[in-house]
């Protein structure tokens, strides 16, 4: 069912709000890095004790997942009705 836009129930996010959220995210990232200057991480692995190791791992993982997903989509994508009348 499609309805006309209802301004009482829906408000399109403004670009300013989006910028505000982005700044908040940058700030959060910076804030999470600050404690690693003072707190020495205890880990069973030497490499995990590098400051901001988790930040680096998460960022690289995020980028890698997005890139792999782009490639995989090109290979595996099919029309929505691909399986219809075949199952």
């Amino acid at each position: 069912m499609l309805f006309e836009r209802n301004p009482r129930k829906y408000r399109r996010p403004s670009s300013r709000a989006r910028q505000r959220w982005a700044r908040l995210l940058y700030l959060a990232c910076a804030l999470t890095l600050v404690p690693s200057l003072f707190i020495h991480p205890h880990s069973e692995f030497g490499f995990a004790e590098i400051p901001a190791f988790h930040a680096l791992l998460a960022f690289l993982t995020g980028c890698a997942l997005v890139l792999v997903a782009i490639v995989v989509r090109r290979i595996l994508i099919r029309a929505e009705n691909y399986y219809e009348h075949r199952t």
């Binding site: 804030l31 995990a48 988790h54 980028c63």
Partner: protein, 564 residues
């Protein structure tokens, strides 16, 4: 005094499920919520170490065995049955609550089973009851999916039966304890468990079936089958090294599909697969800390995954849609549902103070303790990935993405209360991990809230979100599309049917050729026979006596000539 086979909280739920369709609405709902509550109370009263035995034919069965591992899974199964019952309180269907209770009861019975035969029986009942939950929706597609689902589930049961038969025959041991991969029949049993635990390449029944169930049915489905398999693996194959790489692969490859999927319940199904991977790795390690981690993660995962499926169920019920391309802008129309969904997403992403954080930490600690660096990096990366594929994606596309085309009412009160209770449980277990750790199989000496751990986790989440945001801003993030992404179900939905068609055509052609050849051959043979033996045939003619004497004389001459 109850008969031994009835003296089991799981049987209580199954009997309640059988009776429930005959009851009027109010009484039905009372039983739907009352039975899991009574079952949980009953289980809590049974002292750890209790077993009951009975004799069937020549076998001594153990229908009830309550130890630490069974207790943990038994408790969460009852809680899940209660919460999903509350979520479907509004339904007037007679069959859905019945199937849900029988399903929950049989899963509970399997967890409490002390021998392989009892395990097999409950294993099969879960397959039938869960397939009923798919069938009840009544849609043609759901019926087709239910057929595929049932085939896979029965396949698992068949492997379990075969493996158990070999194992019992070779060892004479019925008890379901540690099996390991060297025991007779163990590979078949492992394969049976692997199907239900959605091992890589055996996983696709899950993403095929769960998004096809009703809004309420998926919540029930998400809780039991896979976690029952996790319990069975923990019981039978703890410390099996092979499970570590299997689990590690499970934590990574479904992430890609979850990023690409359009149906948000399919996204959740892939993420369920990822979380099962964490548990499988922990079982592969097999230490007390790791088994505690697997059990704790099963508990929290049942809760937050049920919460997310509830939120998507509520969206589906109120809007008729659950695909990301058709949703968005619902946060103002369903604010509580949006809030609960965000809590579930935060929990699965392992935000500190949420349930997922305190259970996932146990598994990562167990992996680190065994110095498995590669596995640890894989699991930590998968933990970061969770934010991308479900932590941000599901709430955003359902509630916050720009879409002014949908208008809907808030979901029924019972749905909101069920979501509220589940969300509260996620927060409570995150705030007070001692509550969770107190029901685990082994004593826990672990504190997830160390400064270094919390900071590492916050870094992980913040920078995963940063990667998401930058990819999004650059237009690289693969947006949901109305499309299908091929997975292993392609083998049995496309490849095998194609092989089937080719084989059928070949068979028909061969029969036609062969049949034609035989027909031609027989026709020619018959013509020759007719030529000689029918009424006017050479051999049927009435010869004159003179001709006969002549031929006899000729034969005699030939014979005498040859003789001399």
């Amino acid at each position: 005094m109850l008969p031994v086979w009835l003296n089991n909280p799981g049987m209580l739920l199954i009997i309640a499920g059988c009776v429930i369709p005959l009851l009027p609405y109010r009484l039905r709902m009372l039983v739907l919520l009352g039975a899991p509550a009574v079952s949980l109370f009953w289980l809590w009263q049974i002292p750890l170490g209790t077993t009951t035995q009975m004799t069937l034919l020549e076998y001594t069965l153990t229908p009830l065995r309550v130890d630490g591992l069974a207790f943990t899974f038994g408790v969460i199964f009852n809680v899940a049955a209660f919460l999903s019952g509350l979520f479907m309180w509004h339904t007037h269907s007679r069959l859905e609550p019945a199937a849900a209770l029988i399903y929950a009861g049989s899963a509970l019975g399997a967890v409490l089973a002390g021998d392989l035969i009892t395990l097999f029986m409950f294993w099969e009942v879960t397959a039938i009851a869960s397939a009923l939950l798919l069938v009840i929706r009544g849609l043609r597609d759901a019926m087709i999916v239910a057929r595929r689902y049932l085939l896979v589930q029965f396949g698992s049961g068949l492997f379990l039966m075969g493996g158990a038969a070999i194992h019992i025959h070779a060892t004479g041991e019925l008890a379901f304890n540690h099996i390991g991969i060297d025991a007779p029949g163990s590979w078949l049993i492992l394969f049976a468990f692997g199907i239900k635990a959605a091992f890589p390449l055996l996983h696709n029944w899950l993403q095929d079936a769960y998004p096809s169930a009703s809004a309420t049915g998926t919540v029930v489905l998400s809780a039991f089958t896979t976690k029952m398999a996790i319990y069975a693996l923990a019981r039978g194959y703890a410390g099996t090294d092979l499970l570590i790489p299997i689990g590690a692969v499970m934590t990574i490859f479904p992430i890609i599909y979850a990023i690409l999927a359009n149906d948000l319940r399919r996204v959740l199904s892939y993420s369920l697969n990822v979380q099962l991977g964490f548990m499988v790795v922990a079982i592969g390690i097999g230490t007390e800390l790791a088994i505690n981690g697997a059990a704790a993660h099963a508990v929290t995962h049942i809760l937050y995954k049920a919460l997310l499926f509830m939120a998507m169920g509520a969206v589906l019920r109120q809007t008729g849609h659950v695909r990301a391309t058709e949703l968005g802008g619902l946060a103002r129309q369903m604010p509580w549902t949006a809030a609960f969904c965000v809590i579930g997403a935060a929990s699965i992403s392992a935000f500190p103070l949420m349930a997922g954080f305190v259970s996932k930490s146990l598994i990562l600690a167990a992996v680190a303790h065994e110095h498995l660096a590669g596995t640890w990096v894989t699991l930590t990366a998968a933990s970061a990935g969770a934010l991308l594929y479900v932590g941000i994606k599901v709430p955003y596309f359902a509630f916050f993405a720009p879409n002014d085309q949908i208008e809907c009412e808030r979901p029924p009160h019972n749905m909101q209360i069920a979501m509220g209770l589940t969300a509260a449980a996620c927060i409570l277990l995150g705030l007070a991990p001692g509550l969770l750790y107190s029901i685990l199989p082994y004593p826990v000496d672990y504190n997830p809230y160390t400064a270094s751990h919390v900071v590492s986790q916050l870094q992980l989440l913040a920078f995963a979100a940063l990667a998401f945001w930058l990819a999004w801003r650059a237009g690289l993030y693969p947006l949901p599309k109305r499309a299908v992404h091929l997975d292993t179900d392609w083998v049995y939905r496309m490849l095998l049917p194609r092989f089937g068609h080719v084989a059928e055509r070949f068979y028909r052609a061969s029969i036609a050729k062969l049949g034609g050849g035989v027909t031609q051959l027989s026709a020619a043979g018959m013509a020759r026979l007719r030529l000689r033996y029918d009424a006017r045939g050479v051999m049927s003619r009435t010869w004159s006596t003179g001709w006969m004497v002549l031929w006899v004389a000729v034969l005699l001459v030939v014979y005498l000539t040859l003789y001399y």
